[in-house]
Symmetry: C2
Subunit: 128 residues, 2 copies
């Protein structure tokens, strides 16, 4: 590109697309649950994730289905039954999640320390 041209987001950060794909809001809890517990129904997912509303859960599930990270199976029964299952493509993210988990246990405490240190040195003058 020309020296004065702005880099595309892709050039600025090659992992930007996969970050959007995998780490947008609610996607990791959904994929994590499906990876841990296998096939799950809509309400089971809803309960495992805890605070998500049905509308948003539906949106995210549709997106993840379209991206090929999970599959949706509709059983025409009464009452209806819909099961979600992680796909092979979704499962291929498991090592990544494991790495993240390891990094987390090793380094999150350091992050906490850094925050405390920062807050200590950048504190506004005491109100005494």
């Amino acid at each position: 590109m020309r020296a004065d041209a702005l880099p595309t987001p892709e050039q600025a950060c090659p992992i930007a697309p996969v970050v959007d794909l995998v780490f947008s809001r609610w996607t990791t809890p959904i994929l994590w649950a499906l990876n841990e517990f296998g096939r799950l129904r809509f309400v089971e997912l809803e309960r495992r994730i805890g605070t998500i509303t049905p509308k948003v859960l539906t949106q995210r599930l549709r997106q993840l289905e379209r991206d090929g990270l999970l599959t949706r199976t509709y059983h025409a029964e009464v009452p209806p039954r819909v099961e979600y299952e992680i796909s092979d493509l979704g499962r291929s993210l498991a090592p990544l999640f494991a790495t993240l988990s390891v990094w987390s246990t090793e380094n999150l405490p350091k992050v906490e320390e850094a925050r405390s240190a920062y807050d200590e040195t950048h504190r506004t003058l005491p109100l005494i």
Copy 2:
């Protein structure tokens, strides 16, 4: 926890905290640039990332500094010079980013295929 209690976000997804930390908006381009090109000044970061505004860049840099993922060095010169550099803690994310990059090249095409297939089968009736 009780069977009818909602799981905490932490229980629902153990990697949620690190996702917030590392994959919130603009953090990966910033860390990527600092990891690739070493010590960078404010404007250099601004130009490498391309579309970020100074206000938001400052916000993200402060957050990453507080979290201990980068360091900020102020040189009292005229004109002033400020340099940002990735910290050891930040650098410890490099293997993770590398894994993401590999996953990306291997699997993003599959995601594209899945999207095309989904759009094909879920297309609304043609407008002809």
